[in-house]
Amino acid sequence: MTDRLRDKIVPVTAILLGLVAAWYVFAYVMNAPFQRDLDRRAGETPGFSEFVVKTMTQPKPTLPAPHQVAVNFFENTFLRKVTSNRSLVYHAWVTLSSTLLGFAFGTVLGILIAVGIVHFAALDRSLMPWIIASQTVPILALAPMIIVVLAAIGITGLVPKALISTYLSFFPVAVGMVKGLRSPDIIHLDLMRTYNASKAETFWKLRLPASVPYLFASMKVAIAASLVGAIVGELPTGAVAGIGAKLLSGSYYSQTIDMFSALVAGSLVAVLLVTAVGIVGRIVERAMGGQSA
């Protein structure tokens, strides 16, 4: 426990505190010119400490101070009704639902592709370059078109956004699963041969269990990518609902504090999702008889 305290908690906390301090300094530096301008127009000459306080309390600062963001985040998360349009919980839920749907599609698709690649040599050679090339396509650039075009034929709501998440999340799963399904040693594969196991039996009893750790590692990456897809997918719909929409409407009206608290909410969702996948992974591994690390 003391090791953990010394090796991890103390340094991380120290760095985080340093970052917050730097943030305050930057907030002062970036907001000062505008505040000076305001004071000159109003004919005031505040003292230094008064001036610093003023730079931290602007309604639309260039860079909001951390406590401004914290207050805004707290108000919009806990003090508003969950169904309210201004509640961050509501927006986070909208984003979360399309993230999860897209993640589910992406994981299934990735696993199917991986199974195909491992079992058919022709697929390995012809599909793999395409999968890699598919990720050099900036899919997020496609997002507006997918949304608008699908809306043109009457598909709106959750599915178009989820499709973008799917595209982003299938790749890590496919690559990780190919690695995982190929991870059993030759010795183990040979053992299955001596048992006269069929291809299906080898798959279910050896390859699939061996690939589980790889699957969860890549699902962590995939769910983060899925969230990014969902957020960007909300941009072209014209800022209706969701964290992306909140960011866009914030940028329309220069509501920097709102934008920052939306960012905080998005980051929080990301951390929760990745942690959840990690916990599920650990439970599954333990249920399969793995040793806890």
Partner: protein, 384 residues
């Protein structure tokens, strides 16, 4: 390995039978030399002749109880003969759905391509001169098949242009609007992406060197860096646009932030990659910190650093394009995409995406080539 081959043999035999069946079906059901749906130039029917020749050859060989001529030749001839016919007859449909017998030919073409790919990735083409050709031929045939299917399905099923334009229309649009596309590439790739990428990677690298020097800093930064890589950093785009204005500087800033952390985390991991033995050896040579860093630890870290460079190449492109959705001057790939979508010029959007994909692939390819040159000693490259 042997199970793999057995598996392939079964699949191949299955496809082979299917292919023969379809060829026979076409021969029986339709007058071979002039398919009823063919509305292209008549001379195309001549293309059928090599296929006919092959079939006759097979029959003759069979009669004389000799070995069959290589299947690959037959499949290749089949493709040569039927694909142009399929494509040429597309023009005749003119927005209406294709007659039903058209689809047998299309199916036969796709199946033949699949079979050809299967044969080319078989054991016969594993090594040597043919192996090299097959390595490029298999993905190429697959890609061409996809494009062919796309074109045929879109045109023959009369899918609305807005939903999915055929590849030929996209190519045409691309060729016609090269100056516009070049200006967009210049703005987005050569300014936002490259400058931001260089700055972000350099900053991440420098931060990693510093973090590596001070253990306390490394212990604090690494968990934070790992966490940040899961965050939707792209969300800072609107803030950067507010701070740095509409021009490329704001996009470069987004790219810097997106590329910084992957570089930091990977470089720190890479600097820890050299073994104790090697470091001890450097100590026995009485080399100082900097000598050890430059001569041992940085070269050992190169695979990790190139990994980050590769990840960052796609991230940078995405960051720059998405940042343009939040406000740009009237040039740039993201700007073009969002405005042309609004005007329902989907072929222009697809052309822009094709250019972006090409740029991304070239970017990635260049990094991969440099990696091969720099980390020639690494097992993954030595092994071929």
């Amino acid at each position: 390995m042997s199970t793999q081959r057995g598996m392939n043999f079964v699949a191949t035999a299955f496809q082979r039978t299917l292919l023969y069946l379809i060829v026979i079906l076409i021969m029986l059901l339709y007058p071979l030399l002039e398919p009823p749906y063919l509305s292209g130039p008549r001379w195309l029917s001549v293309l059928m002749l090599p296929l006919l020749a092959y079939i006759i050859l097979v029959l003759v060989q069979r009669y004389r109880r000799n070995a069959l001529p290589p299947l690959e030749i037959g499949v290749g001839l089949f493709l040569l003969a039927f694909v142009p016919i399929c494509l040429a007859s597309l023009r005749g449909f003119a927005g209406e759905e294709a007659p039903r017998n058209y689809w047998t030919t299309v199916a036969a073409c796709v199946l033949a391509a699949w079979l050809l790919n299967d044969l080319l990735s078989g054991a016969k083409y594993r090594s040597g001169w043919w192996g090299n050709i097959a390595k490029f031929a298999v993905p190429t045939i697959f890609s061409l098949t996809l494009l062919f299917l796309w074109e045929v399905l879109v045109r023959a099923l009369a899918i609305p242009f807005v939903l999915l334009p055929p590849p030929t229309a996209i190519a045409q649009r691309l060729a016609n609007s090269l100056p516009v596309l070049m200006a967009d590439v210049n703005q987005t790739i050569f300014r936002s992406v490259l400058i931001g990428y260089a700055l972000g990677c350099a900053a991440g690298f420098a931060a990693a060197i510093v973090a590596d020097r001070f253990v306390f800093l490394r212990r604090g930064l690494l968990p934070i860096g790992n966490m940040v890589s899961a965050l939707p950093i792209i969300g800072v785009a609107p803030i950067m646009v507010m701070w740095f204005g509409f021009d490329w500087q704001s996009k470069a800033a987004v790219v810097v932030i997106m590329t910084f952390f992957p570089m930091l985390v990977n470089t720190v991991a890479g600097l820890a990659a050299s073994g104790h033995m090697e470091r001890d050896l450097m100590r026995t040579y009485a080399s100082g910190y900097w000598q050890t860093l430059v001569k041992l630890r940085l070269p050992a870290a190169m695979p990790f650093i190139f990994n980050a460079l590769k990840i960052n190449s796609t991230l940078a492109l995405i960051g720059a394009i998405v940042a343009e959705f939040f406000g740009t001057p009237v040039v740039g790939m993201g700007f073009r995409i969002s405005t042309e979508v609004g005007r329902m010029n989907v072929d222009m959007v697809w052309a822009e995406i094709a250019v972006a994909a090409l740029a991304g692939s070239v970017f990635y390819g260049v990094i991969a080539l440099v990696e091969r040159a720099v980390t020639f000693w690494h097992p993954s490259i030595r092994g071929g």
